[in-house]
Symmetry: C3
Subunit: 313 residues, 3 copies
């Protein structure tokens, strides 16, 4: 039985298969509408994350399956003194697959060790959020036609942003990737990412304070939010924040085929007029997230793909 706890649980080859399946689903969703009939997904959300939860639920419903679960700890008694190990053994009696969101790092991993059904990590603390990473990869591949030979700009909070760390680790397995790491000094990528991931693998990268100057060279711009509470003093925040807001003016400096991604929710780090730019890919990214989760549920449950390419073709 497979689980998905860390984005690196899947080999690059398995990720390619997953993205291929997600592409087939996107091109003909109706072919998949009964694939998971009579199967049940449990969404165990120990902290609310409405976007992620609804994306999983939409994915399962699109496959003709059912959904049950809880949307937050406030409406759950699941955690009352009960261990995650016991909870997952109970839920294994109710469902065929589970998506777990938990404020504590490692909780989904621990659950997977006791589970009789596949466990998907739907975000554990600041740790991992693998279905977001898969969604990012799908969006990059869809927009650029490849996952290799790309210059990827990551902008904003690169210190605490778990989606950024997962994306770096996963893209580091692709060929000829260059990273441009755009952040204020206070929110630079942690040293272990620089040393153990980038330098250890001989991956080209550049750290910079300026989004504006970086724009022309980027194939992908991955935006994240710069939160006020990350700064020691408000003056620094006020001085810096506008540098990391993406505007039409900055977009004018970018390549015509560049793609802008954002894990959402966006607050003000992307100006509203960028939404109409064809390079804005962040709502498409949301839609891809549903297809990736459909593909993932099918893969982990071992469901047959009605549109699988014939062998020998």
């Amino acid at each position: 039985m497979r689980h998905l706890i860390d984005p690196l649980d899947f080999s690059q080859e398995e990720i390619t298969s997953l993205l291929d399946l997600a592409d087939r689903i996107r091109s003909d969703p109706a072919a998949y509408q009964d694939v998971a009939a009579h199967k049940k997904l449990a969404t165990l959300f120990y902290e609310p994350s409405t976007r992620t939860r609804l994306s999983f639920e939409a994915a399962m419903l699109n496959l003709g399956g059912h959904v049950l679960g809880f949307p937050s700890e406030t409406v759950s008694s699941a955690s009352k003194g009960e261990s995650v190990a016991d909870t997952i053994r109970v839920v294994s009696c109710y469902a065929d697959i589970v998506a777990m969101r938990h404020p504590k790092e490692g909780a989904p991993f621990r659950a997977s060790r006791y589970s009789r059904i596949p466990v998907i990590n739907a975000g554990d603390g600041g740790h991992q959020h693998p279905t977001q990473t898969m969604t990012d990869l799908m969006t990059i591949r869809t927009r650029m036609g490849r996952l290799d030979n790309l210059t990827i700009g990551l902008c904003g909070d690169l210190k605490f942003g778990r989606t950024v760390h997962s994306l770096i680790k996963t893209m580091a397995r692709c060929k000829n990737i260059r990273f441009v790491l755009i952040s204020p000094e206070e929110l630079r990528v942690p040293d272990y990412i620089i040393k153990d991931v980038l330098e250890a693998n001989g991956i080209e990268y550049r750290e910079t304070r300026s989004l504006e100057e970086s724009m022309p060279e980027l194939d992908i711009l991955y935006m994240t939010r710069v939160q006020k509470e990350r700064f020691f003093n408000e003056e620094d925040y006020i001085r810096l924040k506008n540098s990391y807001i993406l505007t039409s003016e900055k977009m004018a400096l970018a390549k015509p085929e560049m793609a802008v991604l954002h894990p959402l929710p966006r607050v003000n780090e992307i100006a509203l007029d960028v939404d109409n730019d064809p390079r804005a890919a962040y709502f498409e990214q949301v839609q891809n997230g549903v297809y990736i989760r459909m593909a993932l549920i099918m893969t982990l449950l071992g469901l047959a793909d009605p549109k699988a390419p014939k062998e020998g073709n």
Copy 2:
């Protein structure tokens, strides 16, 4: 693409079509049990309203569709700094139609402007609650056989009661309607309703303090709750409240075919012994609410009606 934000969004002719469809559904619900197969309704409830939410969910399930969403802001992260515009664009990737309840007036309207899917206003602050109004119209038409030539008594809190205002505005488009507005001085219908709706359209109305005296002339009695907190002092409330409680004694003064409506929940403004009076239509009204919402979902999604009357008949 159509939305339903304000009851007046639908012309009188469209309302007639909606009520006709709801009638056909009521007379043969099984014929409609797969009409919305593979479609998804998102219920986005930024404040809890269990009756309304469950009515929408029952409607969608009765049509063979699926439901996802959140029941209150306490279990949702949807509102964390994210605009309604962004939320609806995200939810447009998850569902085919949305019912939105929001404490702020205008939020569903704003959502509809950014949505790729039909938006139904499931109540926005003290503003509008159009599916309640449609339900009221269906119940009146079912009981009386018509929406014209009626004397309609509205009783209780006519100042803050949004269902009352919507009903007046919508019924004002029917022929030969007379309103009897029964309320304490403090809770009279607002002036703009009197001037802009009733007087501007030459509609007959009478304001009165006495439910008892009004009973004999009414075809419809629409009850609402008189809340203690609306009064400046408790003495006034205590002196007045019994006048606006419907009892069997008061029912004895009414026409034999009168119908009593109430948007529910009822607290004590209708005595329990009135429940067994055949003129009590408020639980029937709840059932009609499900049929109206089924008809509305079908209409907004453009689903074919399996029992549509043949042309030329």
Copy 3:
């Protein structure tokens, strides 16, 4: 129309039929996957109980039916001044059957008096929890092959544990049952159970303080939690608590075919290493809970059993 409010609402013969149906479902779940198609279960949980709610929801989904409802009062407006009588009449318009959890004793019974659809008590205060009792019976019968001629040990909090009281009352109707009541002095079975249930029916029982000494004679060991807050002083709690923790050492004293039950959640009253003992039946009990609820929904809705034994066989 039947409801299930108290475990004794069902005769011993009806319980046997229910357990037989649950057994047939367990041996071929796929045969039942569309039995409740187009039916709707409402889960009205006025206090959270995730295990019980998800078990009901899994049961209904396994039968091909739909689910709607609320998981706790915090996300519901159902209770805002509205009586249970009104709520159930409203919900009768939305669903075909209801499972109600309520902190107040008697609320599900009161609801059943006004309901147009079957009501299942999913736990009311410290009072009753009949589907737990049915689950316990199924697990005992499955493990031992019979409900008669058993020595049943009940261990832990026998004073406040409603599942214990229900199990005693229900098992008291079986033949040749012996109870061993294992608890600290402070948490003994209430006198009315001793006098009105056990002694009034001439049922053999023994009260003891020692789990260890009782182990060898037991066919069933039903564990419950000893909560600190039940004790007058902490010293007593600390002195006693280890006596009521089930360990591998204590298991070594028991019969090889004994079965350990627990209503869950377990905190520390069963050591983790007991989980791997084949006599540990508490997770199997969870799975049986789903089958029993499937059987109960079918029974109360009068749904045909596709695997019913032919008459004359």
